[in-house]
Each structure stands twice: as C-alpha cells, then as structure tokens.
Symmetry: C2
Subunit: 141 residues, 2 copies
DNA sequence: CTTGACCTTCCAGTGACTGGAGGCCCCACA
DNA sequence: TGTGGGGCCTCCAGTCACTGGAAGGTCAAG
C-alpha cells in the first residue's frame, strides 16, 4: 500500500503518517522509487495510534502503549497505570474547564449585550479581586 | 516599577510580560538604562490580561477585549459576543473530554491491572471497530 | 571593588501536527 | 511517444503561548 491508501483506511492524514514515521512510531518499508510501502501490520498500528490519540493519549503514551502491546510478557497493571494517569489528567482538565465555564457563564448572564458600553464582563476582568477562575491557569483550551 | 515588581504584583512571570510586550499587548516605557518602566496603568492591563487568560481567552481574544475596554463607545453586545463564543468552545471541549473520559473509565474498569498480560484496554485500542471516543479528535488535553 | 540580584537581548524548544514549495514518479490517454 | 494530472518525496516554516537558558549590562550593598 502507498501512503494515500493507508491514509484513507486509517483515517489519518498522510502528513500525520509521515510525521509518525519521523518520530519513530512506525517504520514502513520503502520501494525502489522511494515511496513508503505499508503492510497490514503498519495499518493496524496506525489504527491503534489513531484510537489512542482520539482518547487523548499523548504521543509518548502511545509509544508506551504500543511497546506494551507488542510485549507479550507485559503486565496489564502497567497498561492500567498509564490509562489511570491519563484519566486523572482528563478529570483535572474537566474540572478546570468547568470552573472557567461557571465564572464565564455568570458574567455572560449579567451582561446586557446591547448597544450601551456598560459591561460587567469587562468590569470583572478589570477589577476582580485576586485570582481568575481556578488557580491553575487556563492553558490549552 | 521594574519588571520584577510588576511580575510579583500581577502574578505573571517576567518572561510572559516581556512576551506580551513583544506581541504588542502592552507598551511599557524605557529608562535610560534600557530597563522597562511600568506605570500603574500597565500593571492594571497586565492584571486584566492575567484574568482573561485564566478564563481561557486566547491572546487574540485578549487583544479584542482590551481594545473594547479602552473604547468608550463600545457596545456591551460586542463583549458579550466574544465571551459567548468562548463559552461555546469551552462547552465543546468539556463535552469532548467527557466523552473520552467515559470511554477510558469503562476500559480502565474492565482491566484487571495485575501481572497477567491480558488487557482489555489494549484489546480495544487494537481492535475497536471504527472511531475512537468522539468524532472530533482528542487534541489539546 | 566585588558580589549578587536584577535587568537586557537573542535563540531554541515545547506538542502534535499542518501548509506549502519544489521536484520526482507513474499511468492513462491521444 | 508525448503530455497531463495526480500522487509521492523532502525540507522548511508556522501554529499557540509561552519557557528555558546563554551571554552580557546595571545597580545597590558591603
């Protein structure tokens, strides 16, 4: 298979597949013309990666998960630990977003949203006492 | 005030303040020694930025919000629109994370997490039918 | 006069891609 | 046999919002 075929079958953009090769997640063979040649097992791995990424695992997590997947002597506890840590991070992120959401929704509901300049949203941003929504800053929306 | 003072008073790292100047969010004056000299109004603006960022507004949103804040003839509807769009994005993100969370929690609960290799988490990643958690990919955790 | 804290600029790296330029390669059709 | 168009290649730059570090100037205290 050429890259276009695996892209279509895996649902991943060709660019992303090349990137995954670059960082060593996959090692497709090469034809005489220099084109990447993918086998079924490469496709399988890409599908695995696509699903792990869709669950929000980082690339490094994916590396670990693939290594565990290929390691017949793995212990399921190792996998579970990775997943649990990730789950915890998701929970933290959700909590942070919900805190932001609450503050923001409150402000929005207080704003008339008409043609007059008075705006409680700006008032709050300009004069609010100390911290914003949560202590942890609002990175990575 | 020097940058260290405003950093302390605003809670933003000095690096970040320099960055905000670089991208034109603030324009502190300069002393003869080349040091940035901040006035109260600069500090005020930085505090505004810190709070807007803590609510998850992008830098571009912040630029807009500050412009509106300084525009006496603004209409609060403009501000509200920015905030509502942002709120919508937060809601989308929360929904996406909750979908991931649900899938992941289910998988984790099915995994024994012991010293045997059998692992439903890996099974799912390897053989799950089509999409991952949600259709939208899991970027930006 | 030295020490050490503070300030400056500039450059590089983060994560996970994404876009685009410039250039082969391959196949079908005239 | 030429040509056109699509697919493939590599390499470079950009994204977002910082963050770290190196190399060097400045300032106040002792």
């Amino acid at each position: 298979m050429n890259i276009g075929d695996v892209a279509q079958r895996s649902g991943l953009p060709a660019k992303t597949i090349r990137y995954y090769e670059e960082i060593g997640l996959i090692r497709p063979q090469r034809g005489e013309n220099g084109y990447r040649r993918f086998r079924e097992q490469d496709l399988h791995k890409l599908a695995f990666l696509g699903r792990a990424r869709a669950l929000g695992f980082t690339i490094e997590d994916c590396r670990t998960l693939i290594a565990l997947y290929e390691d017949e002597s793995r212990e399921s506890g190792q996998v579970k630990r990775v997943a649990e840590e990730h789950l915890q991070q998701i929970d933290d992120k959700i909590a942070q977003l919900q805190s932001m959401r609450a503050t923001l929704a409150e402000l929005v509901s207080c704003c008339a949203g008409d043609d007059r300049p008075d705006c409680p949203i700006l008032e709050d941003l300009a004069h609010h006492g100390a911290d914003g929504a949560t202590e942890g800053k609002g990175r990575a929306l």
